[in-house]
């Protein structure tokens, strides 16, 4: 009985979520295709968007890449910079929080770099590396690096004294305390940092491609703007949204397997 109620309420909320999308698309369709409030050249109706989306999946015009190709190009660069940021940022944050000298050494530099938004690096990177892959990977790296460091640092600092005492009374060495007490404590925070970094990486890649690129979703959008193709712009935005949501979803699954002993909602 309770199980049934649970399923029923779950279905109800699912319907509610679906309704929001349906209502939005309907209003869009009604105001463009029926009421013709906007010219198709300014805001096309949803049916046109779907058509363009399907065509663009396999056609390279007008920017020289298919939707799939552009998406892959963006994802590849974003993930390379992102993974490097995790590999460097998380250990750095952990070490800063655990070893005071590391903190003292790194902090001034880090505090100076931290407020500089990732995309503010783009002009300098273009000057140094040109508009190729390298400059964008470095921009993504710098963007994703900050939340990785900050969250790992904060996480390690959450370690409870009483847990450290327990570790000590059981004879754990300083390194053992770090690996068996502090890092597990920090793991939920580290995962949050990794999740935030994913979002900002994805934003930064699109921004970087809008400014300087020869392929990718941002580039495709920028090209479509130049020739007044709002349908392609919207297709690009849809792809950005969908890929971002998908990556967040996948990371959520990873998180559930990594972070133990908390109530997963």
């Amino acid at each position: 009985m309770e199980q049934l109620d649970y399923k029923k309420s779950k279905r109800k909320y699912w319907l509610l979520s679906a309704a929001s999308v349906i209502v939005f698309v309907f209003i869009w369709w009604f105001s463009t295709a029926v009421l013709k409030l906007a010219k198709p050249i300014t805001l096309p109706d949803p049916v046109t968007i779907i058509k363009t989306f399907i065509v663009k999946l396999t056609h390279t015009a007008p920017d020289g890449g298919t939707l799939v190709g552009n998406t892959l190009a963006s994802v590849k660069i974003a993930l390379s910079g992102y993974v490097m940021a995790i590999l460097v940022g998380v250990p750095l944050g952990v070490l800063m929080a655990w070893f005071k000298p590391v903190d003292r050494f790194v902090r001034p530099l880090f505090d100076l770099l931290r407020p500089v938004p990732g995309i503010a690096w783009i002009p300098l990177m273009i000057v140094i590396f040109g508009i190729g892959i390298t400059s964008k990977i470095v921009v993504i790296f710098l963007t994703a690096f900050v939340p990785c460091v900050v969250n790992s640092y904060t996480g390690i600092r959450q370690t409870r004294d009483v847990h450290l005492w327990v570790g000590q009374t059981f004879g754990a060495s300083n390194l053992q305390l770090l690996t068996t007490v502090a890092i597990p404590t920090a793991l939920p925070f580290i995962m949050t940092g990794i999740r935030v970094a994913l979002g900002s990486s994805w934003c930064a890649i699109v921004a970087a491609e809008l400014l300087a690129s020869s392929e990718g979703l941002g580039f495709m959008i920028q090209q479509a703007r130049g020739i007044n193709r709002p349908d392609i712009i919207i297709c690009g935005m849809l792809a950005i949204g969908a890929i971002g949501a998908l990556m967040t979803f996948l990371l959520g699954i990873v998180e559930k397997h990594v972070v133990k002993g908390v109530m997963h909602k």
């Binding site: 327990v166 000590q168 009374t169 004879g171 133990k260």
Partner: protein, 257 residues
């Protein structure tokens, strides 16, 4: 008598131990010259008013904090730092939330590099002893307060220390669970005798559990008086002897706001 047979060797000796905390603004004397002895397999309760430095005293005995002066010897060795021969049961939130019951109980042996098979076998014995058979794979978040404290006790026992320190382990439990856990601790202790130093601010708990109650003064803490509790176990809260002791101890303990 049975108790005399079991309690003969000295397990803990503290001599003129003092502890002073120094900060930039002021120095605070927490412990003022305490000397005491605890014998093997004895259950001693440290009982004192509110913030009288009981926990500090326990931390000093465990080696978590250094004594400013004086000497502590546990099982023939001078205490300079924490070690696996001294187990600790804390008030609450001391379990590792990211480990299962099994993982928590195994923690001590794991730190000492004991093989997985051996430590899990040993952990199973103590999990069973504290009455948590079947909960090996549960996470602390899934357990009630009383069950968490059972895990805490099993974890301390599993490392096979010579002394167990318990810092108000039942302090955060509701009254009903607290009584239950006191009986459980008695049952566990009768089955697996250990030297236990038990800090409490609950006078009945002290008399109910301990072989000996050491009453501490307000800060800076000294030993006010010692009581040997030779009431037969299991004890009864409304037994005239119990009530007389309660009356007596209440009259000597310092009052605080």
């Amino acid at each position: 008598m049975d108790r005399e047979r079991q309690i003969k060797n000295k397990m803990i000796t503290m001599q003129h131990v003092a502890k002073t905390f120094v900060t930039e603004r002021k120095t605070t004397r927490i412990i003022d010259d305490i000397s005491l002895e605890v014998k093997e397999n004895e259950l001693v309760a440290l009982f004192g008013p509110g913030q009288c430095g009981k926990t500090t005293l326990l931390n000093v005995m465990a080696g978590l904090e250094k004594a400013t002066s004086g000497e502590i010897i546990v099982n023939g060795e001078k205490v300079t730092r924490p070690g696996p021969d001294r187990g600790f049961v804390y008030q609450t939130l001391a379990l590792f939330p990211w480990l299962t019951v099994m993982g928590n109980v195994c923690f001590g042996p794991r730190m000492r590099g004991i093989s997985k098979k051996e430590r899990e076998e040993r952990a199973r014995y103590y999990i069973d002893l504290v009455g948590l058979k079947g909960f090996e794979d549960s996470y602390p978040v899934q357990l009630s307060g009383g069950m968490k404290q059972r895990v805490g006790i099993a974890r301390a026992y599993c490392n096979e220390p010579s002394v167990l320190f318990m810092d108000e382990p039942f302090g955060h439990l509701d009254a009903q669970t607290r009584y239950l856990m006191q009986d459980e601790l008695m049952r566990i202790w009768e089955k697996e005798k250990r030297t236990i130093v038990f800090v409490t601010n609950n006078i009945e708990e002290a008399i109910y559990l301990a072989d000996r109650v050491i009453v501490l003064t307000n800060c800076p803490t000294q030993v006010k008086k010692e009581y040997i509790i030779d009431l037969p176990r299991p004890r009864d809260y409304v037994d005239p002897g119990f009530l007389a002791l309660r009356e007596d101890i209440s009259s000597v303990v310092d009052k605080t706001l």
